[in-house]
Amino acid sequence: MDWQGQKLAEQLMQILLAAFAVIAFVIGYGLGSFQMMLLVYAGGVVLTTLITIPNWPFFNRNPLKWLDPSEAEKHPKPQAASSTSKKKATKNGLELGEEIVIVEEQVVNLDEQSMPTATLQLKLNFGNIHGDW
Protein backbone atom coordinates (compact mmCIF):
# COMPACT_ATOMS: atom_id res chain seq x y z
CA MET A 1 0.00 0.00 0.00
CA ASP A 2 1.41 3.40 -0.90
CA TRP A 3 1.20 6.58 1.15
CA GLN A 4 -1.95 7.89 -0.50
CA GLY A 5 -3.54 4.50 -0.09
CA GLN A 6 -2.77 4.39 3.63
CA LYS A 7 -4.40 7.76 4.15
CA LEU A 8 -7.42 6.63 2.14
CA ALA A 9 -7.68 3.41 4.16
CA GLU A 10 -7.62 5.28 7.45
CA GLN A 11 -10.23 7.80 6.35
CA LEU A 12 -12.47 5.07 4.94
CA MET A 13 -12.26 3.12 8.18
CA GLN A 14 -13.23 6.08 10.37
CA ILE A 15 -16.07 7.25 8.14
CA LEU A 16 -17.51 3.76 7.65
CA LEU A 17 -17.46 2.92 11.35
CA ALA A 18 -19.02 6.24 12.38
CA ALA A 19 -21.72 5.93 9.72
CA PHE A 20 -22.56 2.37 10.72
CA ALA A 21 -22.74 3.41 14.38
CA VAL A 22 -25.30 6.09 13.60
CA ILE A 23 -27.32 3.79 11.33
CA ALA A 24 -27.25 0.99 13.92
CA PHE A 25 -28.40 3.30 16.72
CA VAL A 26 -31.25 4.74 14.68
CA ILE A 27 -32.44 1.30 13.60
CA GLY A 28 -32.16 -0.10 17.14
CA TYR A 29 -33.94 2.82 18.77
CA GLY A 30 -36.64 2.85 16.11
CA LEU A 31 -37.34 -0.87 16.38
CA GLY A 32 -36.97 -0.80 20.16
CA SER A 33 -34.52 -3.67 19.95
CA PHE A 34 -31.07 -3.48 21.51
CA GLN A 35 -30.10 -6.69 19.77
CA MET A 36 -30.81 -5.25 16.31
CA MET A 37 -28.53 -2.33 17.02
CA LEU A 38 -25.68 -4.65 17.98
CA LEU A 39 -26.24 -6.91 14.97
CA VAL A 40 -26.25 -4.04 12.47
CA TYR A 41 -23.13 -2.58 14.05
CA ALA A 42 -21.34 -5.95 14.01
CA GLY A 43 -22.21 -6.30 10.32
CA GLY A 44 -20.80 -2.83 9.74
CA VAL A 45 -17.55 -3.71 11.50
CA VAL A 46 -17.14 -6.85 9.38
CA LEU A 47 -17.80 -4.88 6.18
CA THR A 48 -15.28 -2.22 7.16
CA THR A 49 -12.73 -4.92 7.91
CA LEU A 50 -13.18 -6.40 4.45
CA ILE A 51 -12.82 -3.02 2.77
CA THR A 52 -9.97 -1.48 4.75
CA ILE A 53 -7.61 -4.19 5.89
CA PRO A 54 -6.68 -6.30 2.85
CA ASN A 55 -4.25 -4.85 0.34
CA TRP A 56 -6.69 -3.98 -2.43
CA PRO A 57 -5.26 -2.61 -5.72
CA PHE A 58 -7.17 0.65 -5.48
CA PHE A 59 -5.02 1.51 -2.48
CA ASN A 60 -1.92 1.33 -4.65
CA ARG A 61 -2.71 3.86 -7.35
CA ASN A 62 0.33 6.09 -6.62
CA PRO A 63 3.07 3.54 -6.29
CA LEU A 64 6.51 4.49 -5.07
CA LYS A 65 9.25 4.52 -7.71
CA TRP A 66 12.00 2.25 -6.55
CA LEU A 67 15.37 2.06 -8.32
CA ASP A 68 15.47 -0.78 -10.86
CA PRO A 69 17.84 -3.53 -9.57
CA SER A 70 19.71 -3.92 -12.90
CA GLU A 71 20.41 -0.19 -12.90
CA ALA A 72 21.79 -0.29 -9.37
CA GLU A 73 24.30 -2.95 -10.21
CA LYS A 74 25.99 -0.72 -12.80
CA HIS A 75 26.93 1.80 -10.16
CA PRO A 76 28.40 0.08 -7.15
CA LYS A 77 28.77 2.04 -3.97
CA PRO A 78 31.97 4.06 -3.85
CA GLN A 79 34.69 2.41 -1.78
CA ALA A 80 36.25 4.48 0.99
CA ALA A 81 39.74 3.91 -0.49
CA SER A 82 39.08 5.81 -3.72
CA SER A 83 38.90 9.20 -2.02
CA THR A 84 42.13 8.85 -0.07
CA SER A 85 44.76 10.97 -1.62
CA LYS A 86 47.31 9.28 -3.63
CA LYS A 87 49.38 12.36 -3.62
CA LYS A 88 52.98 11.64 -3.55
CA ALA A 89 55.21 13.82 -1.56
CA THR A 90 56.39 16.62 -3.76
CA LYS A 91 59.74 15.74 -4.98
CA ASN A 92 62.16 18.29 -6.13
CA GLY A 93 62.81 18.15 -9.78
CA LEU A 94 59.69 16.32 -10.89
CA GLU A 95 57.61 17.95 -13.46
CA LEU A 96 54.60 19.56 -11.97
CA GLY A 97 52.65 18.41 -14.92
CA GLU A 98 52.76 14.78 -13.78
CA GLU A 99 51.13 15.46 -10.50
CA ILE A 100 48.44 17.55 -12.04
CA VAL A 101 47.63 14.74 -14.44
CA ILE A 102 47.26 12.31 -11.58
CA VAL A 103 44.89 14.58 -9.72
CA GLU A 104 42.80 15.02 -12.79
CA GLU A 105 42.52 11.29 -13.21
CA GLN A 106 41.26 10.94 -9.71
CA VAL A 107 38.72 13.59 -10.33
CA VAL A 108 37.58 11.79 -13.44
CA ASN A 109 37.27 8.53 -11.53
CA LEU A 110 35.05 10.15 -8.96
CA ASP A 111 32.81 11.44 -11.70
CA GLU A 112 32.25 8.07 -13.29
CA GLN A 113 31.76 5.99 -10.20
CA SER A 114 30.06 7.89 -7.46
CA MET A 115 28.34 10.81 -9.12
CA PRO A 116 25.76 8.91 -11.24
CA THR A 117 24.41 6.93 -8.31
CA ALA A 118 24.37 10.04 -6.15
CA THR A 119 22.20 11.91 -8.63
CA LEU A 120 19.85 8.98 -8.97
CA GLN A 121 19.45 8.71 -5.23
CA LEU A 122 18.69 12.39 -4.95
CA LYS A 123 15.92 12.06 -7.47
CA LEU A 124 14.37 9.20 -5.56
CA ASN A 125 14.42 10.74 -2.14
CA PHE A 126 13.05 14.10 -3.03
CA GLY A 127 10.49 13.23 -5.63
CA ASN A 128 10.26 15.76 -8.37
CA ILE A 129 12.74 18.32 -7.12
CA HIS A 130 14.76 19.49 -10.05
CA GLY A 131 18.17 21.13 -9.99
CA ASP A 132 16.85 24.40 -11.30
CA TRP A 133 16.14 25.97 -8.00
Binding site: Q6, K7, E10, L17, F25, Y29
Partner: protein, 167 residues
Protein backbone atom coordinates in the same frame (compact mmCIF):
# COMPACT_ATOMS: atom_id res chain seq x y z
CA UNK B 1 -1.41 2.26 8.90
CA UNK B 2 1.73 0.66 7.61
CA UNK B 3 0.89 -2.98 7.67
CA UNK B 4 -1.98 -5.42 8.03
CA UNK B 5 -1.46 -5.63 11.80
CA UNK B 6 -1.46 -1.84 12.26
CA UNK B 7 -4.71 -1.41 10.37
CA UNK B 8 -6.39 -4.30 12.17
CA UNK B 9 -5.40 -2.86 15.55
CA UNK B 10 -6.61 0.64 14.64
CA UNK B 11 -9.92 -0.70 13.40
CA UNK B 12 -10.45 -2.84 16.49
CA UNK B 13 -9.80 -0.06 19.00
CA UNK B 14 -11.84 2.49 17.08
CA UNK B 15 -14.81 0.15 16.71
CA UNK B 16 -14.80 -0.73 20.41
CA UNK B 17 -14.61 2.96 21.38
CA UNK B 18 -17.57 3.74 19.14
CA UNK B 19 -19.46 0.81 20.67
CA UNK B 20 -18.88 2.22 24.17
CA UNK B 21 -20.19 5.58 22.97
CA UNK B 22 -23.31 3.95 21.52
CA UNK B 23 -24.00 2.16 24.79
CA UNK B 24 -23.61 5.40 26.76
CA UNK B 25 -26.11 7.16 24.50
CA UNK B 26 -28.48 4.22 24.78
CA UNK B 27 -28.29 4.45 28.57
CA UNK B 28 -28.94 8.19 28.47
CA UNK B 29 -31.98 7.63 26.27
CA UNK B 30 -33.59 5.87 29.24
CA UNK B 31 -34.06 9.26 30.89
CA UNK B 32 -36.54 10.15 28.19
CA UNK B 33 -38.88 7.50 29.58
CA UNK B 34 -41.30 8.68 32.30
CA UNK B 35 -42.77 5.58 33.96
CA UNK B 36 -46.21 5.36 35.53
CA UNK B 37 -46.52 2.05 37.38
CA UNK B 38 -49.47 0.97 39.53
CA UNK B 39 -49.55 -1.61 42.28
CA UNK B 40 -51.87 -3.06 44.87
CA UNK B 41 -51.33 -5.54 47.71
CA UNK B 42 -54.13 -7.17 49.64
CA UNK B 43 -53.68 -9.12 52.85
CA UNK B 44 -56.11 -11.97 52.38
CA UNK B 45 -55.57 -13.86 55.60
CA UNK B 46 -53.28 -14.10 58.60
CA UNK B 47 -52.46 -17.81 58.68
CA UNK B 48 -50.22 -17.92 61.75
CA UNK B 49 -49.34 -15.37 64.40
CA UNK B 50 -47.23 -16.85 67.18
CA UNK B 51 -44.44 -16.01 69.54
CA UNK B 52 -41.50 -18.32 68.87
CA UNK B 53 -39.62 -20.14 71.59
CA UNK B 54 -36.76 -17.63 71.40
CA UNK B 55 -39.18 -14.80 72.15
CA UNK B 56 -39.59 -13.26 68.67
CA UNK B 57 -42.96 -12.81 66.97
CA UNK B 58 -43.63 -14.52 63.64
CA UNK B 59 -46.43 -13.89 61.13
CA UNK B 60 -47.48 -15.97 58.16
CA UNK B 61 -49.99 -14.35 55.82
CA UNK B 62 -51.60 -14.83 52.41
CA UNK B 63 -51.17 -11.95 50.02
CA UNK B 64 -52.61 -10.94 46.67
CA UNK B 65 -49.93 -8.91 44.86
CA UNK B 66 -51.05 -7.25 41.65
CA UNK B 67 -49.20 -4.61 39.64
CA UNK B 68 -48.82 -3.08 36.20
CA UNK B 69 -45.14 -2.28 35.65
CA UNK B 70 -45.22 -2.15 31.85
CA UNK B 71 -44.23 1.52 31.63
CA UNK B 72 -40.92 0.78 33.32
CA UNK B 73 -39.63 -1.20 30.33
CA UNK B 74 -37.58 0.53 27.63
CA UNK B 75 -35.51 -0.88 24.74
CA UNK B 76 -32.57 -0.89 27.12
CA UNK B 77 -34.20 -2.88 29.94
CA UNK B 78 -32.98 -6.36 30.72
CA UNK B 79 -35.28 -7.17 33.65
CA UNK B 80 -37.12 -5.60 36.55
CA UNK B 81 -36.59 -6.92 40.06
CA UNK B 82 -39.62 -6.27 42.27
CA UNK B 83 -40.16 -6.99 45.96
CA UNK B 84 -42.75 -6.26 48.65
CA UNK B 85 -41.57 -5.25 52.12
CA UNK B 86 -43.46 -4.69 55.36
CA UNK B 87 -42.41 -1.51 57.17
CA UNK B 88 -43.18 -0.61 60.78
CA UNK B 89 -41.54 0.95 63.81
CA UNK B 90 -40.84 -0.41 67.27
CA UNK B 91 -39.56 1.13 70.47
CA UNK B 92 -36.16 -0.37 69.70
CA UNK B 93 -35.90 0.55 65.97
CA UNK B 94 -37.40 3.57 64.28
CA UNK B 95 -37.77 1.60 61.03
CA UNK B 96 -38.01 -2.12 60.40
CA UNK B 97 -38.21 -3.44 56.85
CA UNK B 98 -38.96 -7.09 56.26
CA UNK B 99 -39.05 -8.46 52.73
CA UNK B 100 -42.07 -10.69 52.24
CA UNK B 101 -42.02 -11.53 48.54
CA UNK B 102 -39.90 -10.84 45.45
CA UNK B 103 -39.84 -11.71 41.79
CA UNK B 104 -38.02 -11.07 38.53
CA UNK B 105 -39.91 -9.73 35.52
CA UNK B 106 -37.91 -10.54 32.41
CA UNK B 107 -40.01 -8.77 29.79
CA UNK B 108 -42.72 -6.23 29.22
CA UNK B 109 -45.29 -8.91 28.44
CA UNK B 110 -45.00 -10.30 31.96
CA UNK B 111 -45.03 -6.91 33.65
CA UNK B 112 -48.76 -6.92 34.33
CA UNK B 113 -49.42 -9.59 36.91
CA UNK B 114 -51.61 -10.64 39.82
CA UNK B 115 -50.21 -13.23 42.22
CA UNK B 116 -51.91 -15.02 45.07
CA UNK B 117 -49.24 -16.28 47.46
CA UNK B 118 -48.18 -16.73 51.06
CA UNK B 119 -45.18 -14.68 52.09
CA UNK B 120 -42.08 -16.09 50.44
CA UNK B 121 -39.80 -15.06 53.28
CA UNK B 122 -40.53 -15.33 56.95
CA UNK B 123 -41.91 -12.29 58.72
CA UNK B 124 -40.06 -12.37 62.05
CA UNK B 125 -39.78 -9.43 64.43
CA UNK B 126 -36.79 -8.46 66.53
CA UNK B 127 -38.66 -8.99 69.77
CA UNK B 128 -42.34 -9.23 70.55
CA UNK B 129 -43.87 -6.03 69.19
CA UNK B 130 -46.25 -7.16 66.49
CA UNK B 131 -49.55 -7.52 68.32
CA UNK B 132 -51.92 -4.90 66.97
CA UNK B 133 -49.08 -3.32 64.99
CA UNK B 134 -49.89 -0.94 62.14
CA UNK B 135 -47.58 -1.45 59.13
CA UNK B 136 -47.03 -0.31 55.52
CA UNK B 137 -46.53 -2.62 52.59
CA UNK B 138 -44.09 -1.07 50.13
CA UNK B 139 -43.46 -2.34 46.63
CA UNK B 140 -39.88 -1.65 45.50
CA UNK B 141 -38.64 -2.15 41.95
CA UNK B 142 -35.16 -2.08 40.46
CA UNK B 143 -34.96 -1.52 36.70
CA UNK B 144 -31.86 -3.31 35.45
CA UNK B 145 -30.65 -2.08 32.05
CA UNK B 146 -28.84 -3.96 29.32
CA UNK B 147 -26.18 -1.28 29.51
CA UNK B 148 -25.80 1.67 31.84
CA UNK B 149 -27.19 2.83 35.16
CA UNK B 150 -29.70 0.89 37.26
CA UNK B 151 -32.59 2.85 38.72
CA UNK B 152 -34.89 2.01 41.61
CA UNK B 153 -38.14 3.39 42.98
CA UNK B 154 -40.99 2.39 45.29
CA UNK B 155 -44.66 2.71 45.99
CA UNK B 156 -45.91 2.89 49.60
CA UNK B 157 -49.27 1.43 50.56
CA UNK B 158 -50.47 2.21 54.05
CA UNK B 159 -53.22 1.09 56.33
CA UNK B 160 -52.46 -2.52 57.24
CA UNK B 161 -52.76 -3.78 60.77
CA UNK B 162 -51.92 -7.03 62.50
CA UNK B 163 -54.40 -8.66 64.88
CA UNK B 164 -54.25 -7.86 68.56
CA UNK B 165 -54.03 -11.45 69.77
CA UNK B 166 -52.00 -14.46 68.71
CA UNK B 167 -53.73 -17.10 66.63
Amino acid sequence: MHSFGYRANALLTFSVTILALMCAIASLSDNLNSPSPTAQVQVLNINRFQKKTDGDDEVSMSLNVSANLESLFTWNTKQVFVFVAAEYDTPKNSLNQVSLWDGIIPSKEQAKFSIHTTNKYRFIDEGSNLRGKEFNLTMHWHVMPKTGKMSADKLVMTGYRLPVAYR
